[in-house]
Protein backbone atom coordinates (compact mmCIF):
# COMPACT_ATOMS: atom_id res chain seq x y z
CA UNK A 1 0.00 0.00 0.00
CA UNK A 2 2.06 2.89 -1.23
CA UNK A 3 0.84 6.32 -0.17
CA UNK A 4 1.44 9.31 -2.37
CA UNK A 5 0.59 12.98 -1.82
CA UNK A 6 0.60 15.20 -4.91
CA UNK A 7 0.43 18.98 -4.51
CA UNK A 8 -1.96 18.69 -1.57
CA UNK A 9 -3.34 21.91 -0.12
CA UNK A 10 -5.69 21.90 2.82
CA UNK A 11 -7.64 24.65 4.61
CA UNK A 12 -9.97 24.26 7.57
CA UNK A 13 -13.31 25.92 6.84
CA UNK A 14 -12.47 26.31 3.16
CA UNK A 15 -14.84 28.70 1.43
CA UNK A 16 -15.97 30.49 4.61
CA UNK A 17 -14.85 33.82 6.03
CA UNK A 18 -12.75 31.99 8.62
CA UNK A 19 -10.76 29.73 6.29
CA UNK A 20 -7.40 28.73 7.70
CA UNK A 21 -4.79 27.28 5.41
CA UNK A 22 -2.78 24.47 7.03
CA UNK A 23 -1.05 22.43 4.30
CA UNK A 24 0.70 24.05 1.35
CA UNK A 25 1.72 22.09 -1.76
CA UNK A 26 2.53 18.89 0.09
CA UNK A 27 4.03 16.21 -2.14
CA UNK A 28 5.54 13.09 -0.65
CA UNK A 29 5.63 9.33 -0.82
CA UNK A 30 5.49 6.57 1.78
CA UNK A 31 6.64 3.13 0.70
CA UNK A 32 4.81 -0.17 1.16
CA UNK A 33 6.03 -2.18 4.12
CA UNK A 34 8.18 0.64 5.47
CA UNK A 35 7.99 2.63 8.68
CA UNK A 36 7.67 6.37 8.06
CA UNK A 37 8.06 8.86 10.89
CA UNK A 38 6.61 12.36 10.68
CA UNK A 39 8.23 15.00 12.87
CA UNK A 40 7.89 18.74 13.25
CA UNK A 41 7.00 21.29 15.88
CA UNK A 42 3.48 21.69 17.28
CA UNK A 43 1.12 23.25 14.75
CA UNK A 44 3.23 22.32 11.74
CA UNK A 45 0.41 20.28 10.17
CA UNK A 46 1.46 16.73 11.11
CA UNK A 47 -1.94 15.61 12.38
CA UNK A 48 -3.73 17.30 9.50
CA UNK A 49 -1.41 15.51 7.11
CA UNK A 50 -2.03 12.01 8.46
CA UNK A 51 -5.80 12.50 8.61
CA UNK A 52 -5.72 12.59 4.82
CA UNK A 53 -4.47 9.00 4.71
CA UNK A 54 -7.84 7.52 5.69
CA UNK A 55 -10.00 10.30 4.31
CA UNK A 56 -11.04 11.96 7.58
CA UNK A 57 -9.94 15.11 5.81
CA UNK A 58 -10.06 15.59 2.08
CA UNK A 59 -7.53 17.78 0.28
CA UNK A 60 -8.87 21.23 -0.63
CA UNK A 61 -6.87 20.79 -3.81
CA UNK A 62 -4.42 18.18 -5.02
CA UNK A 63 -4.58 14.41 -4.75
CA UNK A 64 -3.71 11.64 -2.30
CA UNK A 65 -3.27 8.14 -3.68
CA UNK A 66 -3.43 5.19 -1.30
CA UNK A 67 -2.72 2.04 -3.33
CA UNK A 68 -5.35 2.33 -6.05
CA UNK A 69 -7.65 4.66 -4.12
CA UNK A 70 -7.65 8.29 -5.21
CA UNK A 71 -8.66 10.88 -2.63
CA UNK A 72 -9.52 14.35 -3.89
CA UNK A 73 -11.87 17.13 -2.78
CA UNK A 74 -14.62 15.39 -4.76
CA UNK A 75 -14.39 11.95 -3.10
CA UNK A 76 -17.77 10.93 -1.64
CA UNK A 77 -18.19 9.94 2.02
CA UNK A 78 -19.60 6.52 1.02
CA UNK A 79 -16.52 5.53 -0.95
CA UNK A 80 -14.34 6.18 2.07
CA UNK A 81 -15.48 3.04 3.93
CA UNK A 82 -13.30 0.83 1.72
CA UNK A 83 -10.34 3.13 2.39
CA UNK A 84 -10.85 3.12 6.15
CA UNK A 85 -10.93 -0.66 6.16
CA UNK A 86 -7.43 -0.66 4.69
CA UNK A 87 -6.07 2.13 6.89
CA UNK A 88 -6.16 1.78 10.67
CA UNK A 89 -5.79 5.01 12.63
CA UNK A 90 -4.57 5.35 16.20
CA UNK A 91 -5.22 8.84 17.54
CA UNK A 92 -3.52 10.80 20.31
CA UNK A 93 -4.84 9.45 23.58
CA UNK A 94 -6.89 6.79 21.81
CA UNK A 95 -8.34 5.57 25.13
CA UNK A 96 -10.95 8.33 24.67
CA UNK A 97 -12.68 6.27 22.00
CA UNK A 98 -13.60 3.31 24.25
CA UNK A 99 -17.35 2.85 24.69
CA UNK A 100 -18.46 -0.80 24.86
CA UNK A 101 -19.46 -2.91 27.88
CA UNK A 102 -16.51 -5.25 27.58
CA UNK A 103 -13.00 -5.02 26.19
CA UNK A 104 -13.62 -7.67 23.56
CA UNK A 105 -16.82 -5.98 22.31
CA UNK A 106 -15.00 -2.70 21.95
CA UNK A 107 -12.26 -4.25 19.86
CA UNK A 108 -14.86 -6.12 17.74
CA UNK A 109 -16.46 -2.79 16.78
CA UNK A 110 -14.30 -2.10 13.72
CA UNK A 111 -14.40 -5.61 12.18
CA UNK A 112 -18.18 -5.73 12.64
CA UNK A 113 -18.52 -2.33 10.95
CA UNK A 114 -16.42 -3.52 8.05
CA UNK A 115 -18.67 -6.50 7.43
CA UNK A 116 -17.17 -9.42 9.38
CA UNK A 117 -19.64 -11.77 11.06
CA UNK A 118 -19.59 -12.18 14.84
CA UNK A 119 -17.26 -15.22 14.94
CA UNK A 120 -14.78 -13.71 12.50
CA UNK A 121 -14.84 -10.39 14.35
CA UNK A 122 -14.24 -12.15 17.63
CA UNK A 123 -11.23 -14.08 16.36
CA UNK A 124 -9.81 -10.90 14.79
CA UNK A 125 -10.32 -9.05 18.07
CA UNK A 126 -8.65 -11.82 20.08
CA UNK A 127 -5.69 -11.74 17.69
CA UNK A 128 -5.36 -7.96 18.01
CA UNK A 129 -5.61 -8.03 21.80
CA UNK A 130 -2.95 -10.73 22.01
CA UNK A 131 -0.71 -8.74 19.68
CA UNK A 132 -0.82 -5.62 21.84
CA UNK A 133 -0.38 -7.69 25.00
CA UNK A 134 -3.75 -7.50 26.76
CA UNK A 135 -4.12 -10.58 28.98
CA UNK A 136 -7.10 -12.85 28.31
CA UNK A 137 -8.35 -12.36 31.87
CA UNK A 138 -9.20 -8.75 30.99
CA UNK A 139 -11.21 -9.43 27.84
CA UNK A 140 -14.59 -9.65 29.58
CA UNK A 141 -13.97 -6.66 31.85
CA UNK A 142 -15.34 -3.19 31.26
CA UNK A 143 -12.72 -1.08 29.46
CA UNK A 144 -13.37 1.69 32.00
CA UNK A 145 -12.13 -0.51 34.87
CA UNK A 146 -8.66 -0.82 33.31
CA UNK A 147 -5.55 1.18 34.09
CA UNK A 148 -4.48 3.96 31.73
CA UNK A 149 -1.81 1.85 30.06
CA UNK A 150 -4.19 -1.06 29.54
CA UNK A 151 -6.84 1.23 28.10
CA UNK A 152 -4.29 2.53 25.62
CA UNK A 153 -3.52 -1.03 24.49
CA UNK A 154 -7.18 -1.93 24.12
CA UNK A 155 -7.73 1.20 22.04
CA UNK A 156 -4.78 0.29 19.82
CA UNK A 157 -6.18 -3.21 19.42
CA UNK A 158 -9.42 -1.52 18.37
CA UNK A 159 -7.63 0.11 15.47
CA UNK A 160 -5.63 -3.01 14.54
CA UNK A 161 -8.54 -5.45 14.77
CA UNK A 162 -9.82 -4.99 11.23
CA UNK A 163 -6.37 -6.12 10.05
CA UNK A 164 -5.57 -2.95 8.08
CA UNK A 165 -2.66 -2.87 5.64
CA UNK A 166 -1.65 0.63 6.68
CA UNK A 167 -1.42 1.72 10.31
CA UNK A 168 -1.26 5.41 11.12
CA UNK A 169 -0.39 6.47 14.66
CA UNK A 170 -0.60 10.03 15.95
CA UNK A 171 1.90 10.36 18.82
CA UNK A 172 1.26 6.85 20.11
CA UNK A 173 3.93 7.14 22.82
CA UNK A 174 2.57 10.30 24.46
CA UNK A 175 1.92 9.73 28.14
CA UNK A 176 3.30 6.18 28.25
CA UNK A 177 5.91 5.10 30.80
CA UNK A 178 9.38 4.04 29.51
CA UNK A 179 8.43 0.36 29.52
CA UNK A 180 5.23 1.10 27.61
CA UNK A 181 7.19 3.13 25.08
CA UNK A 182 9.63 0.30 24.50
CA UNK A 183 6.78 -2.16 23.99
CA UNK A 184 5.14 0.25 21.58
CA UNK A 185 8.30 0.45 19.47
CA UNK A 186 8.49 -3.34 19.44
CA UNK A 187 4.87 -3.46 18.27
CA UNK A 188 5.71 -1.08 15.44
CA UNK A 189 8.63 -3.27 14.36
CA UNK A 190 6.46 -6.37 14.60
CA UNK A 191 3.82 -4.77 12.37
CA UNK A 192 6.51 -4.07 9.82
CA UNK A 193 7.57 -7.73 9.90
CA UNK A 194 3.97 -8.64 9.07
CA UNK A 195 4.33 -6.53 5.94
CA UNK A 196 2.25 -3.59 7.17
CA UNK A 197 2.95 -0.02 6.18
CA UNK A 198 3.34 2.09 9.32
CA UNK A 199 3.18 5.88 9.57
CA UNK A 200 3.70 7.51 12.94
CA UNK A 201 4.00 11.00 14.34
CA UNK A 202 6.58 11.49 17.05
CA UNK A 203 8.33 14.12 19.11
CA UNK A 204 10.92 11.66 20.33
CA UNK A 205 13.87 11.58 17.99
CA UNK A 206 15.24 8.46 19.65
CA UNK A 207 12.12 6.59 18.62
CA UNK A 208 12.52 7.85 15.08
CA UNK A 209 16.16 6.76 14.78
CA UNK A 210 15.29 3.43 16.41
CA UNK A 211 12.50 2.24 14.14
CA UNK A 212 11.90 4.52 11.14
CA UNK A 213 13.05 3.73 7.61
CA UNK A 214 12.10 7.17 6.41
CA UNK A 215 11.44 10.50 8.05
CA UNK A 216 9.36 13.44 6.90
CA UNK A 217 9.86 16.85 8.50
CA UNK A 218 6.91 19.25 8.49
CA UNK A 219 7.41 22.96 9.02
CA UNK A 220 4.62 25.56 8.73
CA UNK A 221 2.47 23.24 6.63
CA UNK A 222 5.21 22.38 4.18
CA UNK A 223 7.45 19.37 3.77
CA UNK A 224 10.93 20.62 4.59
CA UNK A 225 12.71 17.27 4.43
CA UNK A 226 11.91 13.78 3.16
CA UNK A 227 14.85 11.49 3.76
CA UNK A 228 16.34 8.70 5.89
CA UNK A 229 16.84 9.29 9.62
CA UNK A 230 20.60 8.71 9.18
CA UNK A 231 20.90 11.49 6.61
CA UNK A 232 18.59 13.81 8.53
CA UNK A 233 20.29 13.58 11.89
CA UNK A 234 23.69 14.25 10.35
CA UNK A 235 22.57 17.65 9.11
CA UNK A 236 23.97 20.86 10.49
CA UNK A 237 22.85 21.68 14.03
CA UNK A 238 21.57 25.11 12.92
CA UNK A 239 19.08 23.47 10.59
CA UNK A 240 17.56 21.66 13.59
CA UNK A 241 17.34 24.90 15.51
CA UNK A 242 15.54 26.52 12.61
CA UNK A 243 13.06 23.64 12.44
CA UNK A 244 12.78 23.72 16.24
CA UNK A 245 13.69 20.04 16.43
CA UNK A 246 15.98 18.12 18.75
CA UNK A 247 18.73 15.67 17.92
CA UNK A 248 18.53 12.16 19.36
CA UNK A 249 19.95 12.03 22.89
CA UNK A 250 23.34 10.68 21.76
CA UNK A 251 23.63 13.48 19.20
CA UNK A 252 22.73 16.11 21.79
CA UNK A 253 25.42 14.71 24.07
CA UNK A 254 28.10 14.76 21.38
CA UNK A 255 27.23 18.38 20.59
CA UNK A 256 27.83 19.24 24.24
CA UNK A 257 31.10 17.29 24.22
CA UNK A 258 32.22 19.27 21.22
CA UNK A 259 31.47 22.53 23.01
CA UNK A 260 33.53 21.23 25.92
CA UNK A 261 36.42 20.65 23.52
CA UNK A 262 36.11 16.94 22.79
CA UNK A 263 35.37 16.35 19.12
CA UNK A 264 34.21 12.91 18.05
CA UNK A 265 35.01 11.69 14.52
CA UNK A 266 31.29 11.89 13.58
CA UNK A 267 27.91 12.52 15.21
CA UNK A 268 26.59 9.39 16.98
CA UNK A 269 22.87 8.70 16.58
CA UNK A 270 22.34 5.98 19.19
CA UNK A 271 23.72 5.55 22.67
CA UNK A 272 25.66 2.44 21.53
CA UNK A 273 27.28 4.40 18.77
CA UNK A 274 28.12 7.17 21.22
CA UNK A 275 29.84 4.69 23.53
CA UNK A 276 31.84 3.23 20.62
CA UNK A 277 32.98 6.66 19.47
CA UNK A 278 34.02 7.75 22.97
CA UNK A 279 35.94 4.50 23.42
CA UNK A 280 37.78 5.09 20.15
CA UNK A 281 38.52 8.66 21.13
CA UNK A 282 40.05 7.56 24.43
CA UNK A 283 42.07 4.78 22.75
CA UNK A 284 43.53 7.35 20.34
CA UNK A 285 44.92 9.52 23.10
Amino acid sequence: MAIKFEQVNFSYGAGTTLAQSVLHHVSLEMKTGAITAIIGQTGSGKSTLVQHINGLLKPTSGKVTIDDFELTSKTKEKELVTLRQKVGMVFQFPENQLFANTVIEDVMYAPLNFGSNKEAARSLAEKALTRVGVAESLWMKSPFDLSGGQMRRVAMAGALASDPEVIVMDEPAAGLDPKGQKELLNLVLELKKLGKTVVFISHQMDHVIHVADKVIVMHDGEVSAETTPQELFNRDINWFKEMRLDLPKAGQFSEKLEKAGIKLSRRPLTVDELADLINKEIDHE
Binding site: G13, Q85, M89, F91, Q97, F99, N113, S162
Partner: protein
Protein backbone atom coordinates in the same frame (compact mmCIF):
# COMPACT_ATOMS: atom_id res chain seq x y z
CA UNK B 1 -18.06 21.46 13.48
CA UNK B 2 -15.97 24.53 12.87
CA UNK B 3 -18.54 26.33 10.79
CA UNK B 4 -21.29 26.66 13.40
CA UNK B 5 -21.97 30.38 13.59
CA UNK B 6 -24.52 30.56 16.41
CA UNK B 7 -23.02 32.26 19.43
CA UNK B 8 -19.65 32.81 17.85
CA UNK B 9 -17.58 35.78 19.03
CA UNK B 10 -15.39 37.71 16.60
CA UNK B 11 -12.95 40.11 18.28
CA UNK B 12 -12.87 43.66 17.02
CA UNK B 13 -12.56 47.33 17.92
CA UNK B 14 -15.83 48.70 16.56
CA UNK B 15 -18.27 51.01 18.36
CA UNK B 16 -20.50 48.06 19.26
CA UNK B 17 -17.50 46.01 20.45
CA UNK B 18 -16.52 48.77 22.86
CA UNK B 19 -19.95 48.96 24.49
CA UNK B 20 -20.42 47.57 27.98
CA UNK B 21 -21.88 44.05 27.69
CA UNK B 22 -24.77 45.13 29.92
CA UNK B 23 -25.65 47.90 27.47
CA UNK B 24 -25.78 45.39 24.66
CA UNK B 25 -27.89 42.95 26.67
CA UNK B 26 -30.37 45.60 27.76
CA UNK B 27 -30.58 46.91 24.20
CA UNK B 28 -31.23 43.40 22.90
CA UNK B 29 -34.02 42.81 25.40
CA UNK B 30 -35.58 46.21 24.83
CA UNK B 31 -35.44 45.64 21.08
CA UNK B 32 -37.08 42.22 21.32
CA UNK B 33 -39.75 43.64 23.61
CA UNK B 34 -40.44 46.55 21.27
CA UNK B 35 -40.66 44.16 18.30
CA UNK B 36 -43.61 42.45 19.97
CA UNK B 37 -45.61 45.63 19.39
CA UNK B 38 -44.74 45.98 15.71
CA UNK B 39 -47.86 45.65 13.57
CA UNK B 40 -47.47 47.68 10.38
CA UNK B 41 -44.97 47.77 7.55
CA UNK B 42 -43.81 51.22 8.70
CA UNK B 43 -42.85 49.90 12.13
CA UNK B 44 -41.03 46.90 10.62
CA UNK B 45 -39.17 49.19 8.23
CA UNK B 46 -38.05 51.43 11.12
CA UNK B 47 -36.92 48.39 13.14
CA UNK B 48 -35.01 47.07 10.13
CA UNK B 49 -33.27 50.41 9.61
CA UNK B 50 -32.16 50.34 13.25
CA UNK B 51 -30.75 46.82 12.88
CA UNK B 52 -28.84 47.58 9.70
CA UNK B 53 -27.38 50.72 11.21
CA UNK B 54 -26.22 48.65 14.19
CA UNK B 55 -24.76 45.96 11.91
CA UNK B 56 -22.87 48.69 10.05
CA UNK B 57 -21.49 49.87 13.41
CA UNK B 58 -20.05 46.40 14.19
CA UNK B 59 -17.75 46.67 11.11
CA UNK B 60 -18.23 42.98 10.38
CA UNK B 61 -19.00 41.64 6.89
CA UNK B 62 -22.71 41.07 6.22
CA UNK B 63 -21.87 37.49 5.20
CA UNK B 64 -21.21 36.63 8.85
CA UNK B 65 -24.79 37.59 9.74
CA UNK B 66 -26.09 35.66 6.78
CA UNK B 67 -24.16 32.59 7.99
CA UNK B 68 -25.74 33.09 11.41
CA UNK B 69 -29.24 33.10 9.93
CA UNK B 70 -28.83 30.04 7.73
CA UNK B 71 -29.10 27.30 10.39
CA UNK B 72 -32.34 28.79 11.76
CA UNK B 73 -33.98 29.06 8.36
CA UNK B 74 -35.86 25.75 8.74
CA UNK B 75 -37.45 27.00 11.95
CA UNK B 76 -38.45 30.29 10.33
CA UNK B 77 -39.89 28.45 7.35
CA UNK B 78 -41.89 26.19 9.65
CA UNK B 79 -43.52 29.11 11.49
CA UNK B 80 -44.19 30.89 8.21
CA UNK B 81 -45.98 27.82 6.82
CA UNK B 82 -48.03 27.49 10.02
CA UNK B 83 -49.06 31.14 9.82
CA UNK B 84 -49.88 30.76 6.16
CA UNK B 85 -52.11 27.72 6.58
CA UNK B 86 -53.87 28.32 9.88
CA UNK B 87 -54.74 32.02 9.96
CA UNK B 88 -58.50 32.46 9.77
CA UNK B 89 -60.03 35.46 8.02
CA UNK B 90 -61.31 36.75 4.74
CA UNK B 91 -60.87 37.03 1.86
CA UNK B 92 -59.75 33.43 1.31
CA UNK B 93 -57.25 32.97 -1.50
CA UNK B 94 -57.12 29.17 -1.51
CA UNK B 95 -58.97 26.45 0.39
CA UNK B 96 -58.00 22.77 0.62
CA UNK B 97 -60.05 20.87 3.19
CA UNK B 98 -59.53 22.42 6.62
CA UNK B 99 -56.53 24.40 5.39
CA UNK B 100 -57.01 27.83 3.92
CA UNK B 101 -54.72 30.59 2.79
CA UNK B 102 -56.08 34.05 3.48
CA UNK B 103 -54.75 37.51 2.74
CA UNK B 104 -54.37 38.11 6.48
CA UNK B 105 -52.43 34.83 6.62
CA UNK B 106 -50.02 35.92 3.91
CA UNK B 107 -49.47 39.30 5.56
CA UNK B 108 -48.99 37.68 8.98
CA UNK B 109 -46.56 35.12 7.55
CA UNK B 110 -44.40 37.84 6.03
CA UNK B 111 -44.48 39.84 9.26
CA UNK B 112 -43.57 36.81 11.40
CA UNK B 113 -40.66 36.05 9.11
CA UNK B 114 -39.33 39.59 9.27
CA UNK B 115 -39.78 39.69 13.05
CA UNK B 116 -37.87 36.43 13.42
CA UNK B 117 -35.02 37.59 11.20
CA UNK B 118 -34.71 40.96 12.94
CA UNK B 119 -34.69 39.43 16.44
CA UNK B 120 -32.09 36.85 15.41
CA UNK B 121 -29.96 39.57 13.82
CA UNK B 122 -30.13 41.60 17.02
CA UNK B 123 -28.99 38.67 19.16
CA UNK B 124 -26.30 37.85 16.61
CA UNK B 125 -24.95 41.38 17.04
CA UNK B 126 -24.76 40.73 20.78
CA UNK B 127 -22.99 37.36 20.58
CA UNK B 128 -20.76 38.34 17.66
CA UNK B 129 -19.32 41.36 19.45
CA UNK B 130 -19.30 40.15 23.07
CA UNK B 131 -17.05 37.40 24.47
CA UNK B 132 -19.08 34.71 26.33
CA UNK B 133 -17.38 35.53 29.63
CA UNK B 134 -18.48 39.17 29.33
CA UNK B 135 -22.04 38.00 28.69
CA UNK B 136 -21.87 35.93 31.89
CA UNK B 137 -20.48 38.94 33.78
CA UNK B 138 -23.24 41.14 32.42
CA UNK B 139 -25.92 38.66 33.49
CA UNK B 140 -24.42 38.53 36.96
CA UNK B 141 -24.35 42.30 37.21
CA UNK B 142 -27.89 42.71 35.88
CA UNK B 143 -29.27 40.06 38.23
CA UNK B 144 -27.61 41.59 41.28
CA UNK B 145 -30.87 43.01 42.70
CA UNK B 146 -32.13 39.41 43.04
CA UNK B 147 -29.47 38.81 45.68
CA UNK B 148 -31.77 40.56 48.12
CA UNK B 149 -34.25 37.72 47.82
CA UNK B 150 -31.42 35.22 48.28
CA UNK B 151 -30.98 34.13 44.69
CA UNK B 152 -27.38 32.82 44.42
CA UNK B 153 -26.53 35.15 41.57
CA UNK B 154 -22.73 34.80 41.73
CA UNK B 155 -22.97 31.00 41.71
CA UNK B 156 -25.41 31.02 38.80
CA UNK B 157 -23.08 33.30 36.86
CA UNK B 158 -20.12 31.03 37.61
CA UNK B 159 -22.08 28.01 36.42
CA UNK B 160 -23.00 29.88 33.29
CA UNK B 161 -19.45 30.90 32.47
CA UNK B 162 -18.16 27.38 33.10
CA UNK B 163 -20.88 25.98 30.85
CA UNK B 164 -19.98 28.49 28.15
CA UNK B 165 -16.30 27.61 28.49
CA UNK B 166 -17.10 23.93 28.03
CA UNK B 167 -18.98 24.38 24.76
CA UNK B 168 -15.91 24.69 22.50
CA UNK B 169 -14.08 22.02 24.51
CA UNK B 170 -16.89 19.52 24.09
CA UNK B 171 -17.22 20.42 20.43
CA UNK B 172 -13.52 19.65 19.96
CA UNK B 173 -13.93 16.43 21.87
CA UNK B 174 -16.93 15.39 19.75
CA UNK B 175 -14.92 15.95 16.60
CA UNK B 176 -12.03 13.87 17.91
CA UNK B 177 -14.21 10.96 18.99
CA UNK B 178 -16.13 11.12 15.76
CA UNK B 179 -12.86 10.88 13.82
CA UNK B 180 -11.76 7.89 15.91
CA UNK B 181 -15.04 6.02 15.43
CA UNK B 182 -15.24 6.94 11.75
CA UNK B 183 -11.79 5.39 11.37
CA UNK B 184 -13.25 2.25 12.89
CA UNK B 185 -15.97 2.23 10.25
CA UNK B 186 -18.77 4.08 12.03
CA UNK B 187 -21.38 5.32 9.60
CA UNK B 188 -24.46 7.42 10.29
CA UNK B 189 -25.87 7.21 6.82
CA UNK B 190 -26.67 3.51 6.40
CA UNK B 191 -29.39 1.28 7.81
CA UNK B 192 -32.83 1.97 9.24
CA UNK B 193 -33.70 4.50 11.96
CA UNK B 194 -32.97 2.08 14.84
CA UNK B 195 -29.60 1.18 13.41
CA UNK B 196 -28.80 4.85 12.93
CA UNK B 197 -29.78 5.70 16.50
CA UNK B 198 -27.57 2.86 17.71
CA UNK B 199 -24.68 4.25 15.68
CA UNK B 200 -24.60 7.29 17.99
CA UNK B 201 -23.86 5.23 21.12
CA UNK B 202 -20.11 4.88 20.37
CA UNK B 203 -20.05 8.68 20.13
CA UNK B 204 -22.17 9.56 23.15
CA UNK B 205 -20.63 7.28 25.77
CA UNK B 206 -17.03 8.48 25.36
CA UNK B 207 -18.31 12.05 25.19
CA UNK B 208 -20.20 11.74 28.48
CA UNK B 209 -17.33 10.01 30.21
CA UNK B 210 -14.93 12.68 28.96
CA UNK B 211 -17.24 15.48 30.11
CA UNK B 212 -17.65 13.98 33.58
CA UNK B 213 -13.90 13.50 33.84
CA UNK B 214 -13.30 17.11 32.85
CA UNK B 215 -15.88 18.34 35.34
CA UNK B 216 -14.21 16.35 38.12
CA UNK B 217 -10.78 17.67 37.15
CA UNK B 218 -12.10 21.22 37.14
CA UNK B 219 -13.79 20.78 40.52
CA UNK B 220 -10.54 19.45 41.97
CA UNK B 221 -8.51 22.25 40.44
CA UNK B 222 -10.90 24.82 41.92
CA UNK B 223 -10.85 23.17 45.31
CA UNK B 224 -7.06 22.98 45.61
CA UNK B 225 -6.96 26.68 44.80
CA UNK B 226 -9.26 27.36 47.71
CA UNK B 227 -12.54 27.97 45.96
CA UNK B 228 -15.51 28.54 48.28
CA UNK B 229 -19.00 29.54 47.36
CA UNK B 230 -20.95 32.37 48.98
CA UNK B 231 -17.88 34.56 49.29
CA UNK B 232 -17.76 38.21 48.32
CA UNK B 233 -15.42 38.35 45.34
CA UNK B 234 -13.74 41.15 43.50
CA UNK B 235 -13.61 41.12 39.71
CA UNK B 236 -10.68 41.19 37.33
CA UNK B 237 -12.80 43.06 34.80
CA UNK B 238 -14.98 45.64 36.51
CA UNK B 239 -17.95 46.64 34.37
CA UNK B 240 -18.37 50.37 33.99
CA UNK B 241 -20.69 52.42 31.82
CA UNK B 242 -18.81 54.92 29.65
CA UNK B 243 -19.74 57.78 27.37
CA UNK B 244 -20.31 55.36 24.45
CA UNK B 245 -22.85 53.50 26.58
CA UNK B 246 -24.82 56.66 27.40
CA UNK B 247 -24.77 57.52 23.71
CA UNK B 248 -26.04 54.02 22.87
CA UNK B 249 -28.81 54.26 25.44
CA UNK B 250 -29.75 57.62 23.89
CA UNK B 251 -29.98 56.00 20.44
CA UNK B 252 -32.08 53.18 21.87
CA UNK B 253 -34.40 55.74 23.50
CA UNK B 254 -34.76 57.70 20.25
CA UNK B 255 -35.45 54.45 18.39
CA UNK B 256 -38.17 53.46 20.86
CA UNK B 257 -39.83 56.88 20.91
CA UNK B 258 -39.92 57.11 17.10
CA UNK B 259 -41.20 53.51 16.98
CA UNK B 260 -44.10 54.37 19.29
CA UNK B 261 -44.73 57.53 17.26
CA UNK B 262 -44.96 55.56 14.01
CA UNK B 263 -47.24 53.05 15.70
CA UNK B 264 -49.59 55.75 16.94
CA UNK B 265 -49.78 57.51 13.56
CA UNK B 266 -50.32 54.43 11.37
Amino acid sequence: MNNIMIGRFIPGESFIHRLDPRTKMIATFVYIFVMLWADSWQTYLWAAIFIFASIKLTSQPLKLYWDGLKPIFCLILFTVVLQLLFTPGTPTLLKIGPLQITTTGVVNAVYVMIRFILIILMSTILTLTTPPTSIANAIESLLKPLKKIRVPVAELALMLSIALRFVPLLMDETQKIMNAQKSRGMSFSSGGPIKRAKAIIPLLIPLFIGALQRALDLANAMEVRGFKDAVQRTKYRVLKYNRVDYFAFGCLGVFTVIFIGIKLIS
